[in-house]
Symmetry: C2
Subunit: 133 residues, 2 copies
């Protein structure tokens, strides 16, 4: 790994493996006082499937490496350390590393009663290969 | 400044100056989808006054430099990059930089209806001088 993820790397993300292309690592950073947050680290080329947060959105705080964020129907956004992404509830989107870089972000779930995540189709190799840094 | 705060430094924190000893810098990182978060950067020796978050607590994500967190009646905790602090609502506490280091953390307010902050007395030079790294 050629980045310092700053926050704990955690364990290989087997729990959500079915919703990712490539390997990622996950650690829970907070959960005790009503704010659920994770550190997510993606290997180069790794990205999650298109997905929607229902009821409560999610905020990403990019801490290391380079990545992508894309909302359905919008151009992809190249992410670098210090970038913040506010993902509204109900927005179909995906995020992950660039093809050549590891990428870490903190992900914070906006608290919401009965919030859920709806996982959709993968970002295909063809779609991903079109991304231009 | 001998650290990279990673997230935007923002402006000199004049708005809350009365509740700090020393200079700090503040930028708002998110506010649009129900999660209010800030980047706070403290110059060496800078700390905020004792204070209490009512209704909703706060979570700190330490990103650069070294700092302190202390809850009333508990030993001070030395903070480094990658540390996370969950501050429950109703807990009297303070945070800030060590005497020799700049310090940056993201601070996220746990959303709560009618949440408030109650600011109290400063951490005196005498109390602060007793801290041992």
């Amino acid at each position: 790994m050629d980045i310092d993820p700053i926050f704990p790397l955690g364990i290989k993300n087997e729990a959500y493996k079915q919703y990712f292309i490539g390997d990622s690592y996950l650690s829970i950073l907070s959960k005790d006082i009503g704010l659920l947050s994770f550190n997510v680290t993606f290997e180069p080329g790794c990205r999650n499937n298109w997905h929607v947060h229902h009821k409560g959105g999610q905020v990403l705080f990019c801490t290391a490496g380079f990545g992508w964020y894309q909302e359905e129907g919008k151009p992809p956004r190249l992410l670098k350390p210090g970038d913040v992404v506010e993902i509204p509830a109900g927005t179909n989107h995906w995020h992950g590393a660039t093809k050549d870089s590891w990428f870490s972000h903190i992900a914070i779930n906006v608290p919401a009663k009965d919030g859920t995540v709806e996982w959709k189709e993968p970002v295909t190799d063809e779609e991903y290969a079109k991304l231009k840094e």
